[in-house]
Each structure stands twice: as C-alpha cells, then as structure tokens.
C-alpha cells in the first residue's frame, strides 16, 4: 500500500526527516509515536503533499506508484486522507457544501458520476451518528467555532464520508475526553478492511487499546528508531523516549 524508503525532507532549509523507511501493507494499521518535534507531522504533511516541504532524497510508493510528484488533490482522489493535527477553520465555506464538493471531486477523479443529493444526505446522517456530531454543526462553516474535540470528530466524519484507502491520523486523539476517544476509534475501526490501511500518530498508548495496531514505530530524530508490536506502546508509556534516543545516539 505505502512504501517509504530512506526519505529525507526539510522545512525552511532544515532537515527534519533523515532517512525514514516504512512499509505499510494493505489492511494494516501502523502507529507512530515519538517525542515532540521529531517529525511526525512532517511525515504526514509530506505524504499528503503540503507545500513548503522539500524532499531531498528517498522515495515513496503508494499503490506501487510514485507518490511525491502528485498534487494533493490527486493524492486525495487516489485514496489518501490526512486527519489534521490542527484542523483549519474556513469561514464562509459551509461544511456540507465543502464535503459534497470534495466527495464529487474525488468521484470525478475516479471516473465515477456525482453523488445524487439525496444519497449524499443519507450518507451524511448515517455517518454523523457514528461520530455523535450534531446536524447543526454541518450547516456552519468548516470547523468554524467548533470545539477542539468537535474538530477532531469532524475529521473522522470526513474520513467516513470520503472512504480513503490510506488514512493518516495526526494526533486525532489529542485533547479528547475518553468518550470522544472511543468515538474516534470506532470510526477508524468501522473503516477496517483488507484494503484499508492507516498510519496513526499518537502520544498515548490509550488510543491503541481501541485501535489495535499491527505495528508500533518510534520516530525520533527524523528516523524510525524502533519497531515493535502493541507492547512497545506500553513500554513507551512507562519509560518515555529517553532510553530510545540514547540508543540512537550511542
């Protein structure tokens, strides 16, 4: 599904990713943990195609094809979804209008016809229930005046509507209460299938109680420094990252 090999990327002339390698197979969920500033969001942004990141070496294959020369909207159309660490407020653009436009743009990209209005509305009310968001929020502008938790659930709601093949969740659990955390996890679990993969960035192993990962990686100093199973997350929670970064520099 996603093969990252020896990826180097810089922001504003500063190298952040320094030879990152990661292989995510169809149907797998990978968790990425790591200290603040280690490059987790940078990785997510590079994969989603955000401007301002310069890839200086390495390559990324998505579904067997070079990903890095694609525009962000093409990546989305091909099934990549980024749940933002900080979802953006866009005044003046109504949420549902935006979402329908996004869904139809992706369908066009895949050579499918636009979704009929009534089917879209049915889809919306079905998925809204899953994330326990009020209808009223969808009439507002994108994320405008949403609480922190509502913004995160809105990201998951968008994911459920757009049905990506590869979801990149950047700290979607941060700032959530325990109920909201479960809702987010249920949203991701509802997507699980042999051809859906996810890369879940988190600081808390608690999320991984609900979204059971196939692998857990530690990203430090711009590289994956350790990979393991679920138990690695528990270990990190207990001992922090100190012992790992020492291992790296040693």
């Amino acid at each position: 599904m996603l093969q990252i090999h020896n990826l180097h990327a810089s922001v504003a002339g500063k190298e952040i990713l320094k030879g990152l390698t990661l292989d995510v197979k169809p149907g797998e969920i990978h968790a990425i943990m790591g200290p603040n500033g280690s490059g987790k969001s940078t990785l997510a942004n590079v994969l989603a195609g955000r401007d301002g990141y310069e890839v200086t070496a390495g390559d990324v294959l998505y579904q067997g094809r070079n990903l890095l020369d694609r525009e962000p909207e093409e990546r989305a159309g091909d099934g990549i979804f980024l749940a933002f660490q900080y979802p953006v407020e866009i005044p003046g653009v109504p949420n549902l209008y935006f979402l329908r436009m996004a869904l139809n743009a992706q369908r066009r990209h895949r050579g499918k016809p636009e979704i009929p209005a009534e089917d879209f509305l049915r889809l919306v009310s079905e998925k809204l229930k899953l994330v326990h968001l009020e209808d009223g929020l969808q009439k507002r502008a994108v994320n405008e005046g949403f609480s922190g938790g509502e913004k995160k659930r809105n990201e998951i709601f968008q994911m459920l509507i757009l049905e990506p093949r590869l979801a990149l969740l950047d700290e979607t659990d941060s700032g959530l209460d325990i109920d909201a955390l479960k809702i987010v996890a249920e949203g991701v679990n509802a997507m699980r299938s042999p051809d859906f993969s996810a890369v879940v960035v988190t600081h808390y192993q608690r999320l991984l109680d609900y979204i059971v990962p196939d692998q857990v990686h530690v990203l430090a100093g711009g590289r994956i420094v350790k990979t393991g199973g679920r138990e690695l997350a528990l270990e990190l929670e207990k001992c922090g990252y100190g012992w790992l970064t020492q291992e790296v520099t040693a």
């Binding site: 962000p72 909207e73 989305a76 953006v88 003046g92 653009v93 436009m101 996004a102």
Partner: protein, 438 residues
C-alpha cells in the same frame, strides 16, 4: 464630420434636446460644470481615479443605440420572476423593451421626460417628483452632477406615495453599447419613497465592446419618515470603459436604506456614496463589493453624515483583486454636534490574488458630538495557504478551492441582500466573474 466633441465642447453649446432641465437653468448648470472643470492630477480626492486625458477626448453624446442582445439584457435579470423594468441604451429609454405592469395607485415609474410632460398636463405627483431633481447631488459643487443634469438625454424616475408597499422589485437596465466612436453616457435615476412606504430598486449597468466610453451616472434617493428601501447596483464595465457613479441618499426619521454596489471590470470606476441620516433613528447601510482583474481600478468614496440623534450607519466594502487591479476606499464619517448616540461602523477588506494587485483604505472620521460609537477597520491579505491545502487535501482541485475561498470571502456581502429575487442573479454574476478571473 462625425459630431464628436470634448466635454467642454458639449457644455459650451449643448444640443437643443439634451439636459433634464430647460432654458436658463440648463445654461447655468452647463456653465457651472465648465467652471468646476474635470478633476486634475493634483486633486487629492481624485488621485486614484484614472480620468487622465478625458478632457481632450472627443466623445459622441449618447443617442440612438443598437438593440441590445438577449444575454446583455438578461445577464442581470432575475429568471422566472416578474419585475418591472426600464431599459436605457446609450442614455435613451427604449420603450419597446420596457415592461411596466400595473403598479399600485399613485406610483409613477418610467421616463422623467414623460413625467415632465405629465406635470405640464397637471399631474401633481410628476411635478412633485421633478421638484426633487438635483436636491441631493450638489450640482453647484460637484462637476459630474452639473454635467449630468445639463446633458443627460433622459432619466428614470420613481415616485412612491406615502404608505405604499411595492411587492415587486423595480429594475433599471442601463447599457452602454458604443459603435465606432467613443461615447459619453449619463444614466440618471431619481427615486422618492414616501412616508412608511417600501420599495426595492435595482440598477444594472453594463458596458460592452472595445470602444472607449465615459459613463457619468447619478442616482438620487429620498426616503420619507419610516420608509424602507433596498438599492442594488450592479456595474459591469468593459476594459475600455470609465465610469463615475454617484449614489446620493437622504434618509428621514426612522427610515432604513440598504444600498449595495457590485463592481466588476472597467478601466476606472469611481463610486461615490453620499448618505445623510437626517432624522432621528434613521439607518443606512452602504455595501460595496468589487471583483477586479487586468488593469481595472475601483475608487470608492463614501461620505456618511449623521445629522440627527440615534442613527445607525454601516459601511462594508470588499475588494477582490487579481492581476494588476487596484482598489481604493476612502470612507468619511461626519457626526454633527446634535447627532448624539450615533452608531457608525465602517469596514474594508481587500483580498489580493496576485503580487501586483493593490488595495488601500483611508478612513476619515470627523466627530463633533460627544456620545458616539464609531468604529472602523481595514484589512488587506491574500488567500490563506493552510485553508487552501486543507481543501485540496480533501480532493478539491486547486482552482476550484481558490474559487471556493474567494467566494467565501464575499459571501457575507451577498448575504446582506434581502430582496430574494435578486440573490440568485447576483450569485450567478459573482460566480461567473470569479470563473472568468481564475
């Protein structure tokens, strides 16, 4: 000889049939316009309008024009709704294109010249309306007003007596369709809304073709106590067109006016707004949205005067500027000594879509009363890259995402329009203009 002359040439020797007033008064106004003269490069209030060379330009005084095409006519007309409309081409009313249905008793809408004849025939309302001509637009101080009254071919008048509520919006379509020669046209509108009456008036101005023209529009609106008026003005000029348009509004006690101006295109468009809140509790809203590209310039000047206590004024201006276009907003608020508890708000926001576009805002407040709430703000910026990426990351192509954000920037301007019939045509116009610019 093709008959084109300079502005001064026309004013020195006006043709027999030109002008909205007769005899000595017309001669006086023509002379006054000559005395006042066109603004020069040294005139601070005019330094951003591009009127250079206008004094030397040989222009035809608008006259007979070609029949407008259906798209030219319908571009700004609401679909599937009945509106009463007057159509003016190159300054001449086109009776065969006007559609004026039965109106409530006492309401007059149509050619001011026809009304003048009716007044001579003894129709009191027509005489009352004509008496108000020039009472707001200051022809003795404002050259363009004197020029308009002295040389306009005809004008549109609307008289709404006291206590009448007009259900349908009234539309004045005013087109400039120059032939081979540069053209001077002078649309004129005079609206009087009686006490406790209500109306919605829309002006649709369009200029077409590659030939230069100068359009000098003047609109005067008087609202009696407790009246309600929504005034919508759409101006869509060709890159060869220059326009000066003045809206002069006087609002008596407890009356409310909302005036919206949408400007697109044009080589240079100067919009002047004069709003007088003359009676206690009057409210006036003046909104301006400009969507420009190429080398277009819009120069918005407002002059809001609070003359009475407890009045409210709102000025909201937005400019969306692509390529090398320019926008200037000069907003003046004057609060007279007696205008206690004034509530005045002014805001400008410019959205720059290119590195070469420019926007400038110049608030000018003059406050003589002491109990006043008066605020102003101006922002100029470009499209937020984080928002753009957010939209694209959901699969929306870049061009569409940009358009969506630009539309969002001006959606509150469309949201201010209350005349429901006009919202869709305006939205179509904005969407089409944005699509053309993208």
């Amino acid at each position: 000889m093709n008959g084109a002359r300079t502005l001064a040439g026309w004013l020195t020797d006006p043709p027999e049939d030109a002008g909205l007033v007769a005899g000595a008064e017309r001669t006086r106004l023509a002379l006054r316009a000559l005395e006042l003269g066109l603004p020069t490069a040294r005139d601070e209030a005019w330094r951003y309008s591009r009127l250079e060379g206008l004094a030397e330009e040989e222009l035809m005084l608008a006259g007979e024009g070609p029949a407008p095409t259906a798209p030219q006519l319908t571009a700004l007309t609401p679909e599937g709704v009945r509106v009463d409309r007057v159509v003016v081409v190159n300054g001449r009313l086109m009776p065969e294109l006007c559609e004026i249905g039965p109106l409530p008793a006492g309401v007059g809408f149509g050619s001011l010249r026809a009304m003048a004849r009716a007044a001579q025939g003894g129709l009191k309302e027509a005489a009352d309306l004509l008496e108000r001509l020039d009472s707001l637009c200051r022809p003795d101080q404002r050259m363009f007003s004197a020029l308009n009254t002295a040389l306009a071919g005809d004008a549109t008048g609307l008289w709404v007596p006291d206590g009448v509520r007009l259900e349908r919006p009234l539309l004045v379509i005013s087109l400039v369709l120059p032939g081979a020669d540069a053209l001077l046209t002078q649309p004129r509108l005079l609206v009087v809304i009686g006490r406790e009456s209500q109306a919605s008036v829309m002006e649709a101005h369009g200029g077409f073709g590659p030939t230069p023209y100068f359009c000098n529009a003047v609109s005067e609106f008087q609202l009696g106590a407790g009246a309600r008026l929504e005034h919508l003005r759409v101006q869509r000029d060709s890159p060869a067109g220059r326009r000066v348009s003045g809206a002069f509004l006087r609002v008596e006690a407890g009356a409310h006016v909302r005036s919206h101006t949408f400007t697109t295109g044009g080589r240079s468009v100067r919009n002047e707004f004069q709003l007088e809140l003359a009676g206690a509790g009057a409210r006036g809203e003046v909104n301006g949205l400009a969507l420009l590209s190429g080398e277009s310039v819009v120069d918005n000047h407002t002059h809001v005067t609070h003359l009475a206590p407890d009045c409210e004024s709102r000025q909201t201006f937005r400019s969306i500027l692509a390529e090398r276009s320019r926008s200037v907003f000069t907003g003046r608020i004057l609060v007279a000594r007696d205008a206690q508890r004034t509530d005045a708000v002014q805001s400008f926001a410019g959205l720059l879509l290119s590195d070469t576009a420019r926007a400038l805002a110049r608030p000018q407040l003059e406050i003589l009363a002491d109990n006043v709430k008066c605020t102003h703000g101006a922002t100029v910026g470009s499209l937020d890259p984080d928002s753009l990426f957010y939209l694209r990351s959901r699969g929306i192509p870049k061009a569409l995402a940009r358009r969506l954000m630009i539309h969002a920037f001006c959606s509150d301007m469309l949201g201010r329009v209350r005349t429901s019939e006009m919202i869709n045509p305006l939205d179509r116009l904005v969407t089409r203009t944005l699509a053309e610019q993208a």
